[in-house]
Amino acid sequence: MNPALTQGAQRRFKPDGSWTTLLETATREVFEIMLGTEVAIVPRPVEGPSGNVMAVVGLAGQLCGVCSMRFTLEGAGRIAKKMLGTDQIASETEVKDAVGEICNMVAGNFKAKISNLAEGCLLSAPTVITGSDFSCHPLTDGESFEICANFEDQRVWVILELSG
């Protein structure tokens, strides 16, 4: 068995109050570096996460759970165009590829910011869900962290849900 998973069974990382800030920083950095765009973290809208495009990355080991991001169709399309460096409309495949990579990078960047965690937590390949009427219900029983960002007037949600 992978050492990260073995260690995870032995010792789970306990979240602390700084993790929301770390998630915000991880998100900002990925957008700045990969898209050359600043995103502003905005107060959480009352209605909660929404958007027709969702990217999900699983975490296993000392940090176990799900990191997901939700985007509007428009926002996801703009992200793909920025990443591709084109003004042309990105194909559906390119959009899914782009948001999956963004979610993967946010999750990787977040865990890199937690001291001594990087070696003990593995990320899954990203999965992208699209549709107009769905909810995501990770069967985790631990803490969750949620941030909402504004990317070119489009909402981007980043949600980290952990197992206890």
Partner: protein, 128 residues
């Protein structure tokens, strides 16, 4: 510096495109940029013709970056070609596995064009 042929191996077409853009931004004289979406395809590209530099993702379906490293070392026209790994993991443990297997360095996503340039510039010196 001579004009070089680069192979980018990554299951994300978007990342392959970004890496290609970074190489152009670095001012590298590119004779060609070949692409493959996993290690197996990467080996097939090399079998068709030698390349001067390889950038490979670690986590890929079908054949991952570490298996690709093992495979490409057996190819006569590639065994001395420098390989730089690309990883999204905050962890360096998989990169640590990649270095003894033949990788000459790694780039962690997210990356800037300057970071890509910084990582590959010393390798290109050897191609002069």
């Amino acid at each position: 510096m001579k004009s070089i042929r680069v192979l980018i191996v990554d299951d994300s077409a978007v990342i392959r495109k970004i890496v290609g853009r970074c190489l152009r931004h670095a001012g590298i004289d590119l004779q060609g940029v070949m692409q493959a979406s996993n290690g197996m395809e990467g080996l097939a590209v090399i079998r068709k013709g030698a390349v001067d530099l390889i950038l490979s993702d670690i986590k890929m379906p079908a054949m991952d970056g570490l298996e690709f490293l093992q495979g490409y070392r057996t190819l006569e026209n590639a065994k001395n070609t420098p390989v730089v790994m690309i990883t999204c993991e905050g962890s360096e443990s998989r990169v640590v596995e990649a270095l003894p297997a033949g990788a000459r360095g790694y780039i962690r996503k997210p990356f800037t064009p300057d970071q890509v340039k910084e990582r590959i510039a010393p390798l290109l010196e050897g191609l002069r």
